[in-house]
C-alpha cells in the first residue's frame, strides 16, 4: 500500500482518457476474442455488455451490489472518519502519533491476503469486506491527513494566533482548506484500494450474496461472461462511488468555506 501527498505546483498532469483510445482497445479486445473463437478463454466486449444487461434485469443482481457496496463503503467511511480523528489527535499530541506509528506501519506492510485469512478467523465472512476495506483505507487517510495538518501554512496559524481566532474558526477556515487537498487525494486513492481489497476479501471469504461470491462462482463454473460482467459492474460501481463521493466532498467544503 502506498501513501500519497497532495500534488502541489510541479508534477506532470496525467493525460485524460481519450474516447478514441478506448474504442481502439475495445476493438482490439473484440478482434482477439473473435480470432480465438472461444468465449471461455476470452469473452468479447459485446457479450460482456449483453450479459451485464441480462444480469441487471434480475433483482438478485441489485441485492448483490447492495450487499457488497454497503460493507465496502461502510468500511471506507468508518476509516475516513476514524483516520481523520486520529490524525487530528496525533497532530496535537505527540504521544498519540508515536503510539499509532507502529500500528499504521504494520497495517501498511502486511499483505492484504494475510489480513483476509487472519480476519476470517475473527469475524464472520459476511462482514469481512467491511473490515478489510477499513484496514486498507485507515492508514492512507491517517497518514495523509496528518501530513496535511503538519504542513498547514504556519503564517496563517500565526495570523490566527495574533487575531485570537477561536479553535472552531481555525479548524473551519484554515485547517479544512489546507488539509482538504491531502484528504481528497487520500480518498481518491483509498476508494480504489477499498474496492479491490474488499472484493478480494469476498472472493476468499465467499459470503452469500456478495459480488465476490459471484466472481468465485464464475471461476468455479468457468463462466467467463459472468466473470467479465461482474468485473465490469465492480469497476463501474467503484468509479461511480468515487466520483459521487468526491463531488459531494467538494460541495460540502465549498459550503463550509462560504461565510
Amino acid at each position: 500500500m502506498s501513501s500519497i501527498t497532495a500534488a502541489k505546483g510541479s508534477g506532470q498532469i496525467p493525460t485524460p482518457i481519450k474516447f478514441w483510445a478506448v474504442v481502439v482497445w475495445l476493438a482490439v479486445w473484440q478482434a482477439v476474442s473473435m480470432a480465438l473463437g472461444q468465449e471461455i478463454l476470452l469473452v468479447s466486449p459485446v457479450s460482456v455488455v449483453i450479459r451485464t444487461g441480462k444480469l441487471a434485469l434480475e433483482a438478485e443482481f441489485w441485492q448483490t451490489i447492495l450487499f457488497s457496496f454497503s460493507r465496502i463503503a461502510g468500511g471506507f467511511f468508518l476509516a475516513a472518519i476514524l483516520g481523520t480523528i486520529m490524525a487530528a489527535l496525533a497532530a496535537g499530541f505527540r504521544r498519540v502519533e508515536e503510539l499509532l506509528a507502529p500500528l499504521v506501519l504494520t497495517i501498511k506492510s502486511i499483505p492484504v491476503a494475510s489480513f483476509i485469512i487472519l480476519v476470517l478467523i475473527w469475524v464472520s465472512s459476511r462482514n469481512l469486506s467491511m473490515l478489510i476495506s477499513f484496514l486498507m483505507v485507515f492508514p492512507v487517510i491517517y497518514t495523509n491527513v496528518l501530513s496535511g495538518i503538519c504542513n498547514t501554512d504556519p503564517q496563517l496559524l500565526e495570523m490566527a494566533q495574533v487575531f485570537e481566532l477561536p479553535a472552531s474558526r481555525r479548524i473551519r477556515y484554515i485547517y479544512v482548506s489546507q488539509v482538504l487537498p491531502y484528504f481528497r487525494a487520500a480518498c481518491s486513492l483509498a476508494l480504489g484500494l477499498c474496492w479491490k481489497a474488499g472484493v478480494a476479501a469476498e472472493v476468499i471469504g465467499i459470503p452469500d450474496g456478495s459480488m465476490g461470491e459471484k466472481l468465485y462462482s464464475a471461476k468455479i463454473y468457468l463462466d467467463t461472461p459472468d466473470l467479465f460482467a461482474w468485473t465490469l459492474v465492480i469497476v463501474l460501481v467503484s468509479l461511480a462511488f468515487e466520483r459521487l463521493f468526491l463531488a459531494l466532498l467538494d460541495r460540502i467544503v465549498a459550503r463550509l468555506e462560504r461565510m
Partner: protein, 193 residues
C-alpha cells in the same frame, strides 16, 4: 500605562538581531520603527506580537491588549473571498459594514472573489482592511503599503490615518514620509550592533 521595552535582545543562532534595545511606546499614538533591512524591525514586531521568544530583556504593558496586524506577507486565506477574509477576524461586523469598507478602498467589485484571484495590490488592501476592522488595542503594521502604486497608496494612507486616530499603532517602514503621513508621534531607529 505605556509599553516599556527594556534591553530587549534576540539572536538567531550566531546572528544577533536585536541587542539591548529599549524604548517606550505611548498608548494611543503611532510609533514608527525605521532601520535598514536586516536590522530586526520585523523581529521586534514578532516579539511584541508574541510570535517569537526574546533572549533577554523585558516588555511591559502588553498584557491583555487585543492585537491586530498587517504582516509583511498578506496572509490571506486563499479560498475565502475578500469579504470573508475580513469577516473571519471580525465576525461582529455586519456584511454591510464590510462592503462599505471594501468600497472605500475600491475593492467592492472583488468583494466576493477568492483571495487567490486578487492582484497583489488588492490583496494588500484586503489585509489592511482586515487589520483595521478587527477589534484591537494595539495595531502592528509591517510595511503595510508595500506593493501599492503611488496614487492608491496615498488614498490608502489617508483611509488608514482616519481609522487609527487615537489608537496604539506600531508602524515598520522604510519611508519617513509614510510614517509622517500616518501621524507618527515618534520614530524609533534600530541601530547596528
Amino acid at each position: 500605562m505605556d509599553i516599556i521595552i527594556d534591553k530587549l535582545s534576540k539572536a538567531y543562532g550566531s546572528q544577533q538581531v536585536l541587542q539591548d534595545f529599549s524604548a517606550v511606546i505611548p498608548l494611543g499614538k503611532t510609533t514608527g520603527i525605521m532601520a535598514p533591512s536586516g536590522y530586526g524591525k520585523t523581529t521586534l514586531l514578532r516579539i511584541l506580537m508574541g510570535l517569537e521568544q526574546l533572549d533577554g530583556g523585558t516588555v511591559q504593558g502588553l498584557e491583555g491588549l487585543r492585537q491586530s496586524a498587517v504582516f509583511q506577507e498578506d496572509r490571506l486565506c486563499e479560498n475565502l473571498s475578500a469579504a470573508a477574509n475580513i469577516r473571519l477576524v471580525c465576525p461582529r461586523k455586519s456584511p454591510r459594514e464590510i462592503m462599505e469598507a471594501l468600497a472605500a478602498l475600491e475593492l467592492a467589485g472583488c468583494a466576493h472573489q477568492p483571495a487567490r484571484e486578487l492582484s497583489g495590490g488588492m490583496r494588500r488592501r484586503v489585509a489592511l482592511l482586515r487589520a483595521l476592522m478587527a477589534d484591537y488595542d494595539i495595531l502592528y503594521l509591517d510595511e503595510p503599503f508595500k506593493g501599492l502604486d503611488v496614487e492608491t497608496k496615498a488614498e490608502v494612507i489617508a483611509y488608514t490615518r482616519k481609522h487609527i486616530d487615537g489608537k496604539t499603532v506600531l508602524l515598520v517602514t522604510h519611508d519617513l514620509e509614510e510614517a509622517q503621513a500616518l501621524g507618527a508621534h515618534q520614530i524609533l531607529e534600530l541601530r547596528d550592533h
